[in-house]
């Protein structure tokens, strides 16, 4: 989230699209209700299903799953063509005025630079025109045909209300009504927040769904404002923390891009990641990359990382190719992997195409499960009848189950969707032989180190030299780990502005990443977490909920990254002169000599407004991007492409260009393309989702949750049920090209047939929570049905839009 949970109460309009917070985030949803009660906010829900969020909404509009860009593109067109945008904001704080390379083009669904064979783009033309100093050229009048504003207008002029209705199946009046709600917040003193989750990410156009909303929020001037922002609702209490700590191989902690084969040496690695400013006088904060990276290496390797050895750069593995979840299981499927560690992960249930995952796991020599529960994955080799048809005699994989304690049985921190890091204390000891995750990993590490010492190995240094200065090496304390992550001064740190003045003494905990150095005199395990455990102690354990501004900015409750800032880009809540756009919701303002307010300013504290330092300090251009340059794999503007399994035989926006049917830059593996189903065999759109009674695949093991939602079901509209002769509560079989599930039919008025491109499209809803292990009635893994294809940028699988057929069972 750019904002935070409590801040939702400051919104005037809450648009829920690509999420279902009443069901998936019921605790955070209280702030939506709060906004309704205290600000008379309007809640608008756009979703293929009338869900429990819609049940308390002021307005609901349906759409076909996988057509969010068509819908949002229509909203962009509405805002631009009706002039309902926050003009001053757009002009000052976005790249609307920037001039784009004259060779940039968009032709019938394909951007310039496309290579059909590689299914990827060369992005040389997706760039700003630069002047002789390397700064982007701008046209303040926004009239130049190559300026971003004109290109944006042209691109989305095709997204008329008629096209939206044709592609999405959303009735025109309903679409326009949503547009009106959204457009109200173009006023400087009105804001809209947007809440989304996996309903946007789990598509082959997932990242671009979110980009669409980013464009809308920029046009409305809602970024940086209280009650505004783009707010990703994270599923697991600590999934934000997981992301922050680089459980994706492409990143090192703190979103530092990990080295790859192409980064032949340390110098190349740093240069590629340390941008130059694209406009004069901008903060260009990522220029500090070498400080963050060096401090990380000092935290990891201590004295073994030094200037002479490029701070142990050669210890880091270099990415040779993709390493996302789909590629990992594809490599495993091809027999390229010997062993696999599953820590708090149930891939048999949660990765697309269960059959492929099960077959892949059966090619391993060993599988290690570190989990509090006996997961479905841990018994992938065991036959559970038609729920898991497998012959154990044919599975050579050796499976180890290491029982871990549950989060409530561990002390540590978790980071919520609003980036607030909160310490928690264990509530009980784990049962039986369970151990904390840190103990399990420590035991593994110490054993490996011992084996390298005894037996040698190809490259022992990264293991042998890893800093491990815990009081009990076999049991690192969570407190020690957070202190290490926060970082400390390894030498006295002198104030660069004043010789002889010591900012931090050697050995002291650091208070902010502002003091990090690239000379090896600081260590920090994750730069964005610097400040969580300062000299003052554990700031994540603070529990003072006082809220002087009344805006919910509780700066002494936990610690938000970065630097305890609650609303990022908050400089944009003021006009260029430093006056809040809405004085009633002042986040920060210019106080004459510095920035201050109810939040930690997202700006150099003494940057005078007349200096023109722009609010989006993480961008080298200083402003937000309507045009995303070469940073996205599938285009600088989002474009509607059909899901890889679609009921249509063409993309209604590009009926004559088969290349632009589905996302032209999405990766498809051999064998997976063939596993896509066609509409003639599988005529219905299916989408998977969560129910409020369960959390993912955990709570099916809990008696009370199982009582509240005991048995697998699928949701079917009344019209389709009638057509198929399916009675409410009867068993049905849902089949995709990859397998089938059998479940109870919930026949409902809440899923309507949609009129799409002249044909009637039915949607079938498939809750994901069930499986063959647990307290709930044994069921099928919903991901038996889903296709193996992911978002073009981050490879999140397309769980939300695929094709199935339906029959009585």
């Amino acid at each position: 989230m750019t904002n935070h949970w409590v801040d939702i109460k400051n919104a005037d309009v809450i648009l829920v699209m690509g999420g279902n917070p009443a069901e998936a985030h019921p605790c955070g949803f209280k702030w939506v209700i709060e906004a309704k009660k205290t600000r008379k906010a309007k809640l608008v829900v756009v979703d293929p299903r009338f869900n429990r969020t819609a049940a308390v909404a002021d307005f609901y509009a349906p759409l076909r799953s996988g057509t969010d860009i068509a819908f949002l593109g229509g909203v962009i067109n509405f805002l631009l063509s009706s002039g309902k945008i926050h003009h001053d904001y757009v002009k000052a704080y976005t790249n609307a005025s920037f001039l784009i390379d004259e060779t940039f083009a968009f032709d019938d669904g394909i951007f310039s630079g496309y290579n059909a064979e590689k299914r990827s783009y060369g992005k040389d033309s997706w760039k700003y025109q630069l002047d002789k100093d390397g700064y982007a050229k701008v046209d303040e009048t926004l009239q130049d045909p190559n300026c971003v504003f004109q290109l944006l207008k042209k691109h989305y002029s095709r997204y008329t209300p008629e096209i939206v209705a044709q592609v999405c199946g959303t009735p025109k009046e309903a679409f326009l009504k949503v547009c009106e709600y959204v457009a109200e917040t173009a006023a400087p003193n009105k804001t809209m927040t947007n809440l989304y989750a996996l309903g946007w990410t789990e598509h082959t156009v997932g990242s671009q769904n979110i980009r669409c909303m980013a464009i809308i929020q920029q046009l409305l001037g809602n970024m940086g404002m209280a009650g505004g922002g783009i707010n990703a609702l994270r599923g697991h209490a600590n999934v934000q923390g997981i992301t922050d700590f680089a459980l994706y191989a492409q990143n090192l902690p703190g979103y530092l891009s990990a080295p790859a084969d192409a980064d032949v040496d340390f110098k190349t690695f740093l240069e590629k990641r340390t941008p130059k400013p694209l406009r004069p006088g901008q903060m260009n904060f990522p220029q500090n990359f070498p400080k963050w990276h060096t401090s990380l290496m000092k935290a990891w390797f201590g004295d073994a990382a030094n200037k002479e050895n490029d701070f142990a750069y050669h210890y880091l593995p270099k990415l040779g190719g993709a390493s996302d979840v789909l590629s990992i299981f594809d490599q495993m499927f091809q027999g390229k992997m010997n062993g696999f560690f599953c820590q708090g992960f149930n891939p048999l249930a949660s990765v697309a195409n269960k059959k492929k995952v099960g077959d892949a796991l059966a090619k391993l020599k060993y599988l290690v499960i570190i989990d509090p529960l006996a997961t479905d994955t841990s018994e992938f080799w065991k036959s559970y009848g038609e729920f898991n048809e497998v012959d154990p005699a044919k599975v050579p994989t050796e499976v180890f189950r290491l029982p871990a304690s549950l989060f409530a049985e561990q002390t540590g921190s978790y980071t919520n969707s609003g980036r607030v890091v909160q310490w928690h204390w264990k509530a009980a000891d784990g049962p039986g032989e369970t151990r904390d995750d840190t103990e399990i990993i420590a035991a593994l590490f110490l054993k490996l180190k011992e084996m390298y010492a005894k037996d040698g190995g190809a490259f022992p240094e990264p293991i042998q030299k890893l800093a491990w200065a815990y009081r009990q090496p076999a049991k690192p304390a969570p407190e020690e780990v957070l202190m290490e992550i926060n970082g400390k001064a390894l030498a006295d740190l002198e104030d660069p502005k004043e010789k002889g003045k010591i900012l931090v003494k050697a050995g002291e905990q650091l208070g902010t990443f502002g003091v990090l150095r690239d000379d090896g005199s600081t260590s920090c395990g994750n730069w964005i977490y610097c400040g969580t455990w300062s000299q003052a102690g554990n700031n994540t354990a603070k529990r003072d909920n006082s809220d002087p501004s009344g805006l919910g900015q509780t700066l002494n409750w936990g610690y938000a990254w970065p630097v305890n800032r609650r609303i990022i880009y908050n400089r944009a809540s003021c006009d260029p002169a430093g006056k809040p756009w809405d004085a009633k919701r002042t986040v920060i303002k210019w106080l004459g000599d510095k920035w201050g307010g109810s939040d930690v300013p997202d700006m150099r504290p003494d940057a005078k407004p007349e200096e023109g330092v722009m609010p989006f300090i993480m961008n080298p251009e200083g402003v937000a991007r309507l045009f995303s340059r070469e940073l996205m794999a599938d285009g600088p503007f989002p474009e509607h492409y059909e899901p890889f399994e679609t009921p249509l035989d063409k993309n209604p926006l590009h009926p004559n260009n088969p290349k632009a049917f589905s996302n032209p830059a999405a990766r498809v593996y051999k064998g997976d393309m063939e596993a896509f189903g066609k509409a003639k065999d599988f005529p219905y759109v299916a989408t998977t989702y969560r129910l409020t009674e369960h959390f993912h695949y955990w709570t099916k093991h809990s008696h009370i949750n199982a009582v509240l939602q005991p048995e697998q079901f699928v949701e079917i509209g009344e019209e389709l049920a009638k057509e198929k002769g399916i009675a409410n509560g009867s068993m049905v079989k849902v089949r995709s090209n990859r397998g089938f599930i059998r479940a109870v039919a919930v026949v409902t008025k809440r899923i309507k047939a949609l009129d799409v491109d002249g044909k009637k499209v039915h949607t079938i809803g498939i809750p994901t929570h069930f499986g063959f292990k647990g307290a709930t009635k044994p069921g099928f893994i919903a991901n038996t049905l889903t296709p193996v294809v992911g978002d073009a940028n981050v490879q999140t699988p397309e769980y939300k839009a695929f094709l199935v057929n339906l029959e009585r069972a």
């Binding site: 009660k37 009338f50 509560g729 809440r750």
Partner: protein
């Protein structure tokens, strides 16, 4: 004896006058249906606090699970899909004891002290005195009490009288994530509810209102409804609940007859207990006695 904070105002089949020295505030639970998301956290909290566990059931084609109130499920969410003039609403109502000011169950109960009404308004079953006759079921206009298959006694929501006695809100209130459940004095709850009704009317629900039916003297569990003119839309919430005429008959001239009937209950119970065991007793007797009462 009840805790001091739970002065008894009325006790079933008892004529001893209640204590009247202390001033007790009437409490109420408010269920704001318009902000309820049907998450069932209240159901989970109810099972946990009261140490009751429903069996794991099946899906019957709706989100309602457990599908009905039972001796182990003192509150359930009832989901109703209502579509009128092209507008769909998913009305989700938390069902459970309404804690009537004039409780039909208590009036109908022939077992001395088995049903109490505290001065704070809570209607509470004392299972140790319950004879399992099922009269409370007949007496209840909301179809709430359930006779246990296990011990033949009647169970229902206690409004967490144990928590309220020590100044805590009921477990369901504590667990509600959206604040759809509120607890306080009845007066406060009515004020708050009126505030919510204004908001709903502004959002176009012209018939929004408070459900606090006077046919049972008002209730200590109230609803805020978007369609207060048609409570039946919410999965059959009665529009005008009142105490069954059978109960009035029982409390009126038929009482001496009923006393005889009660003796029959006791004897019959013993007989059935010896011959058939406890489980089927109450149902059969209930039928017999109802016939008698109807005379």
């Amino acid at each position: 004896m009840a805790l001091q904070s739970l002065d008894i105002a009325r006790s079933s089949a008892t004529t001893t006058p209640p204590p009247s020295v202390r001033q007790t505030t009437e409490v109420a639970k408010l269920i704001d249906v318009s902000t309820c998301i049907g998450c069932k956290a209240c159901q989970a909290a109810c099972m946990e606090w009261n140490d009751i566990r429903e069996e794991i059931g099946t899906c019957s084609g709706v989100y309602d699970n457990p599908t009905n109130l039972t001796e182990n499920s003192w509150t359930v969410m009832r989901f109703a899909e209502v579509e009128e003039a092209g507008k769909l609403e998913w009305l989700i109502r938390k069902d459970g004891c309404m804690h009537c000011a004039d409780p039909g169950c208590l009036k109908a109960c022939p077992a001395p002290g088995a049903i109490l009404q505290y001065a704070n308004g809570i209607v509470d079953f004392q299972e140790e005195y319950c004879i399992g006759c099922g009269y409370c079921v007949t007496g209840c206009p909301f179809n709430i009490p359930r006779i246990s298959q296990k011990d033949g006694k009647a169970y229902k929501c206690t409004l967490c009288s144990d928590r309220v006695a020590v100044g805590q809100a009921p477990a369901c209130i504590k667990s509600c994530p959206t604040g759809a459940l509120q607890f306080g004095s009845k007066e406060q709850m009515r004020d708050y509810a009126e505030h919510r009704v204004v908001d709903l009317k502004e959002r176009g629900f012209k018939e929004a209102g408070i459900y606090d039916p006077q046919g049972v003297g008002g209730t200590h569990v109230m609803y805020v409804l978007h369609h207060a003119d048609r409570p039946q839309l919410y999965n059959g919430l009665p529009a005008d609940p009142g105490i069954s005429p059978l109960v009035h008959l029982w409390k009126g001239f038929a009482k001496p007859l009923a006393t005889v009937a009660m003796a029959a209950v006791a004897l019959g119970s013993l007989y059935h207990y010896v011959t058939k065991g406890p489980n089927e007793v109450s149902k059969e007797l209930e039928d017999e006695l109802e016939k008698e009462d109807a005379l």
